[in-house]
Amino acid sequence: MSSQRIRNFSIIAHIDHGKSTLADRILELTGAVSEREMKEQLLDDMDLERERGITIKAHAVTLEWTAPDGEVYTLNLIDTPGHVDFSYEVSRSLAACEGAVLVVDATQGVEAQTLANAYLALENDLEILPVINKIDLPSAEPDRVAEQIEQVVGLPAEEALQVSAKTGSGVRELLDAIVEQIPPPRGRGEAPLRALLFDAWYDSYRGVCCLVRVVDGEIRARQSIRFMSTGNAFDVEEVGRFTPSAEPADRLGPGEVGYVFAGIKELHQTRVGDTITLDREPATEPLPGFKEAKPVVFAGLYPVDSADYQDLRDALDRLRLNDASFTFEPDTSQALGFGFRCGYLGLLHMEIIQARLEREFGLDLITTAPGVRYRVTTTRGETIWVDNPKDLPDAGAIESIAEPMIDATILTRDDAVGPILKLCEERRGLQKRLEYVGPERVLIEYRLPLAEVVLDFYDRLKSVSRGYASFDYQLVGYEDSDLVKLDILVNGEPVDALSVIVHRDNAYHRGQAVVTKLKAVIPRQLYEVVIQASIGRRVISRAVVKALRKNVTAKCYGGDITRKKKLLEKQKEGKKRMKKVGRVEVPQEAFLAVLKVEDT
């Protein structure tokens, strides 16, 4: 196939701006999926996938489109994950393309993710086609949105296509524009194989499915290939394309996108962004841009019922088959027993994993406060990495601590600017940009410690902006900071699962807030419970849960005996869900309480 007639592109958009609907319309118009199939898909996406053994929403679909010049072009539509946590994966998918369709909702305008995605596309030197979607809606303001695209994103948008993915209006024109404006791939057919691995997943029948974009050379079945970052070699069993059903092919040549099965048993043997080359005649240089996706958010995960520990381990193993980017290692907490310290790419990633564990595996879990990985320099000059507060050395042994920083982009209506700035300042933010990007629309950029964002920043942002603010961020390295470990003690015993690393200036407020919250959620019990927050040996906040004085069923005759037993069973059920710290029963909410501490 001549690479002159290939177009590789992604659709990028802020969430809910219509990316998937547009993709569906494109699949339909190119005849890849019939209208009937599309309806079925709408009805039950997952079942259809299972039944037909294909991924309708394949992460890359090869389509054919006859352009006005009468030629048939091959379009490779490459999907990108829709969230900031996966920005590395997004950037690798974009690296497999020459162009991107930037979808902006005509009723919403440019949002933070629009911007973040556009920047990623620009970094990858892509041709960007701005598209204004949802023009069928009465509240659509395509002209105003076009202006925003020029002003905020900095892309010429006078010519931006106006479409309605819902009705299909303008989608043909978009396909023609893709052919016309996105450049064909360039690559050298004769050079040694270099293919970008931009996505991979585990298929229980065939092992790991690798999605690749061939840059140089070609890849065929029965070749031996090598991953350049790990040096691991595998024999190719089959190559092909998703159209969207999997269709085997003889070869994938320069500029082409498709799948490779190579008998790879475990997902973590592959690295997204890696370069695949031939084992016998390898390329000398890998493709640029490879990074190892490293977790940045860490939290403890414990079964509510310690008997579920093995089930939790099995579930984590299973999840890891399909998600190599999250990590876990066994961890022990005095209060919570045996569990795992897990690392995630971001907050959403964490929520997804936790939700899947609870929903798909039916596990009841306690999560500790999410934190980040600190770089600690000891007085002996060593550098250690700490992602679990309990591993932080004593204050006396610490020379300095550095924490990961982010650049956050927030787009909001102007009436929420005040509270948002206040929130960012509370979270130790440093303002970098504050600018009107249209009437009533403000772009805010802050440098913030990641640790201040992982806790409940996003929820608070949504609440202070009444849902209008959109948010995106990028990691920008480490900065030294005056950080201390804040311990929480219950009747003098430190509750390791409640320890957090905080900035010294915030320690007092935070300690007080946690103590207050704990006092509210720890029920009175037979003994007085003293709750303290401390830094080192210094207690900075203290509260007492007075001893329980009354838990009695006064009236107890014939039928009351049965009722009383039921009541006691209920009380006992409640206690079962508590964790014991010394002899104090601490309810699970206590561990959640530290996740959502209102700012004082």
Partner: protein
């Protein structure tokens, strides 16, 4: 399956009719007084369906409610006669009925005593008018006092009055008023209940919205201990969590429940126990009447307790009593329920429980926390 205990039985009769439902009530109660006739008729028929051989003697009969004083005196006397004809009373049988202060008249008392009723329990609840209104009672303090005077003039009757702790607006000061009223009335027996909020009733609704209108747990605990102190000084023995009696005036019927001796039951929603069996009648009045009409026992459920459950029940009920349980049963409990053993030791160490002469019993402070201990037995 059945393992009835030998000896005479107790009999509970549920008379569910009330003029109105009190704000704290969770009992099986009906305000459809037009059904009284049919219901009394049904009780007569259920008597014949009881799982109790004719002629089995009764040690106690308890007519509870509801408001038994709403059933005509003649009907109540007739019912009692029918019961005792079929199941003769042992010498000295205790026959109790519950009554509301506003219903008591010399005529009614005459009918009752003639029919053999020798113990009357009246729902005074408080001697403070505002508190009576708060819990939806129909009488005021003056009416309560009048009823007490009436009862005090009937020598053949032993009587009880009920008080409630935890009423909205109740304070340590207002409790003194009620205690003084009770002591002045000088009943043989006083029951002191604590308003409970774990089942839905009108006050629970109020409690959810305005918990601050209710005395807090600490206040109620203080009230309870004050009741213990005042009634103790006046010669009433605190013989069960909620019950006080002059020497020899303990409620024999109720002691049967705490000692786990058999009590059979008649009427809608009534519960019975005999040996290792427990059972309950249907709670719906319509369902109950229909079952009786069809000549069937109106059972809602019946269960047989395992030895382990019997042990747990024995400890739970025994520790409600001032007499407590013997060391041997406590140890057996600790062997079967290790957490119970540990917590009982904790109770002993903190004087929430006391061991004396081979018996273990809870102190008033321990009673206040007794559910913590009993929860280890389920």
């Amino acid at each position: 399956m059945t393992d009835p205990s030998p000896g005479p039985k107790g009999l509970y009769v549920h008379l569910p009719f009330c003029a109105s439902r009190c704000a704290y009530c969770t009992f099986v109660v009906s305000t459809e007084r037009r059904l009284v006739g049919a219901y009394v008729e049904a009780i007569h028929r259920e008597l014949e369906l009881l799982d109790l051989p004719e002629g089995t003697p009764l040690e106690t009969v308890y007519l509870g409610g509801g408001t038994p004083s709403l059933i005509g005196g003649g009907e109540l006397a007739g019912l009692l006669r029918a019961i005792l004809e079929r199941h003769p009373g042992v010498p000295g049988i205790e026959v109790t009925t519950e009554a509301n202060p506003e219903d008591l008249t010399p005529e009614l008392l005459g009918l009752w005593t003639a029919a053999g009723i020798n113990r009357i329990s009246i729902g005074v609840q408080s001697f403070v008018d505002g508190e009576l209104t708060a819990i939806g009672r129909r009488h005021d303090a003056a009416r309560a006092r009048a009823a007490c005077h009436l009862l005090a003039r009937v020598p053949s009757v032993t009587w009880n009055l009920d008080l409630i702790l935890g009423i909205p607006g109740q304070t340590p000061e207002s409790l003194e008023v009620s205690l003084a009223g009770a002591l002045e009335a000088a009943p043989h027996h006083i029951s002191v209940y604590i308003l409970e909020m774990d089942k839905p009733h009108r006050l629970q609704e109020l409690y959810r919205r305005h918990p601050d209108e209710f005395p807090g747990d600490d206040t109620v605990a203080g009230l309870y201990l004050r009741v213990h102190e005042v009634l103790g000084k006046a010669g009433y023995e605190h013989y069960e969590i909620s019950n006080f009696a002059l020497p020899g005036a303990e409620a024999r019927h109720n002691l049967r429940y705490w000692d786990r001796r058999p009590v059979h039951a008649l009427g809608v929603g009534a519960h019975g126990n005999d040996g290792n069996r427990r059972w309950a009648n249907l709670e719906s009045l319509a369902g109950y009447l229909e079952a009786i009409r069809g000549g069937e026992r109106p059972l809602a459920w019946e269960t047989t307790l395992s030895p382990r459950e019997m042990l747990a029940e024995g400890l739970m009920l025994g520790l409600r009593l001032a007499a407590g349980v013997d060391r041997g049963s406590a140890d057996a409990g600790g062997a079967s329920f290790p957490e119970f053993g540990r917590m009982l030791e904790g109770f002993l160490q903190r004087d929430l429980a006391v061991e004396d002469a081979g018996r273990i019993f809870l102190t008033p402070e321990g009673w206040l926390l007794s559910n913590e201990l009993f929860a280890t037995l389920v």
